[in-house]
């Protein structure tokens, strides 16, 4: 299949990108890595009049430490995120999840910003962003604003981004020294996550000082496993305590039933995978 015809612009500044989007109105669409968008276009499920390609924005690539945050440019590819020394040192959970996205070819083109703005409920990176309370910096006609991940993901494929806004940077807390695990369950290696669990754990004196847990594909947006985190706070870093906490994993989730799995099975998986993720993250 071949996409419906569209116009194409490739701005070289963020400001130009924003104004190109504003000019496009309702019919504009941002092209980041294109790994989700191009299949949609090929199947003619969408027919934007203009594609605004952010591929020329070199300033949106790369990761750096900025105070107590790790700042990653939105156009940094999954392969770059997964392979970045600074990401692996500061937020290894993000690198681990990025390494599990799609396949090599997809990771070479797909970008962090694209994956977040796409807001696929089975996407891995939105879950990490929510688990870690990332802040998403967006640029619009009125300048830049920062949106907490918890508020960024509004619904299935729906974010707080305005149609003339561009996601430019993702800021994450530096979690060097935390244990982490992205546990991904797939029907086949090519399949999207049936369920995923992002877990980061800080141990202190044999107990869990802090834990952050979020789930992939357990609702229209990433689900923060609040009940699990609550149960973990101050708990012993023991297998039993982690298992008990993981039993709360599906609380507050509203998973779908689809071809890959039923809601009931997803809830079961969420509990099992959360236990496994916590166990790994806690180094047990």
């Amino acid at each position: 299949m071949i996409p419906v015809a569209f116009d194409y612009v490739r701005p070289s500044t963020v400001e130009d990108a924003v104004s190109a989007l504003a000019n496009a109105g309702e019919e504009g669409k941002v092209l980041a890595g294109g790994q989700s968008l191009l299949p949609v276009l090929r199947l003619r499920l969408a027919a934007p009049s203009v594609l605004v390609d952010l591929g020329g924005l070199a300033q949106l690539r790369g990761a750096r430490v900025d105070g107590d945050r790790l700042a990653v440019g939105a156009m940094t590819t999954h392969a770059e995120v997964a392979g970045s020394d600074v990401v692996r040192a500061e937020v290894p959970l993000l690198a681990a999840a990025a390494a599990r996205i799609g396949d090599r070819q997809v990771r070479h083109l797909g970008t962090l910003g694209g994956a977040l703005a796409h807001a696929d409920p089975s996407g891995d990176l939105p879950t990490v962003a929510v688990a870690l309370d990332a802040e998403l910096v967006v640029a619009g006609p009125g300048g830049r604003r920062s949106i907490p991940a918890a508020e960024f993901f509004r619904d299935l494929f729906t974010t707080a981004l305005g149609p003339d806004e561009v996601l430019v940077e993702v800021r994450l807390p530096r979690l060097a020294g935390w244990g982490y695990r992205y546990e991904k369950f797939q029907r086949t290696a090519q399949a999207w996550a049936t369920v995923g669990v992002a877990a980061a754990v800080r141990r202190e004196n044999g107990s869990i000082a802090e834990a952050r847990v979020a789930l992939t594909n357990m609702g229209p947006t990433p689900v923060r496993a609040v009940a699990v985190e609550r149960a973990l706070a101050g708990a012993d870093a023991s297998a039993d305590a982690l298992a008990a906490a993981a039993e709360h994993a599906a609380e507050g989730a509203s998973p779908a039933s689809d071809l890959a799995a039923s809601a009931e099975y997803r809830e079961h998986l969420a509990r099992v995978l959360t236990r496994r993720a916590l166990t790994a993250a806690a180094g047990l």
């Binding site: 569209f6 490739r10 191009l38 199947l43 090599r104 070819q105 090519q190």
Partner: protein, 183 residues
């Protein structure tokens, strides 16, 4: 139409393309590079995999059906046809032949390009790493086993460690056949 300029298999082309043109179709229809094939429309099969330089000029495997030709502007692209420009086989091509890593051959161009990219990143991959590295390429004929074997063997040869033993007899280097072109 948009004007693009790119290098494909060592040759520089400048063309006007419709923005909707996929790189795969540009290669096939406009450049006649029909060695790169298209097997699906959802970026699953990987048959269209080519190497394209990234913003830093490093060649990376991409699925050319999930890239617009306009996105390849200024980049360098290597297809299966440009892997061994002097007519000799690339070690990966030779290994695919020697290890019987292909049957119908339709997935082969993409599979070889993916494997070349994989070995560039990981010069000494284990069988499991090869399997993971090729997860973006589907093959319906071989069950992947000989493909895995071929990639491991090619990697060894490319490291200069000497090729792993072939499943078959001493390889007779196949004579390249002239391209068949319909009138």
């Amino acid at each position: 139409m948009a004007r693009i300029s790119l290098t494909v298999d060592g040759v520089t082309y400048t063309d006007d393309v419709a923005p909707r043109t996929l790189l795969a179709y540009y290669l096939r229809d406009q450049l006649g590079k029909v060695g790169t094939v298209i097997g699906c429309d959802t970026t699953n099969c990987g048959a269209c995999t080519v190497l394209m330089t990234d913003a830093d000029g490093v060649p990376r495997s991409v699925k050319s059906c999930a890239v617009l030709a306009v996105q390849a502007d200024g980049r360098g692209v290597t297809t299966i046809e440009g892997l061994a420009p002097d007519g000799d086989m690339h070690p990966m091509q030779r290994a695919f032949h020697e290890q019987h890593a292909l049957q119908c051959g339709f997935c082969t161009p993409g599979m070889i390009m993916s494997a070349v990219d994989l070995v560039a990143d990981n010069p000494d991959p284990t069988e499991d790493e090869v399997r993971e590295g090729l997860e973006g390429n589907l093959c319906r004929c071989t069950g992947y086993q000989n493909i895995v074997r071929a990639v491991v063997a090619a990697a060894a040869e490319m490291r200069g460690a000497g090729a792993a033993p072939s499943t078959a007899e001493a390889p007779a280097k196949p004579a390249p056949e002239p391209a068949e072109v319909a009138s």
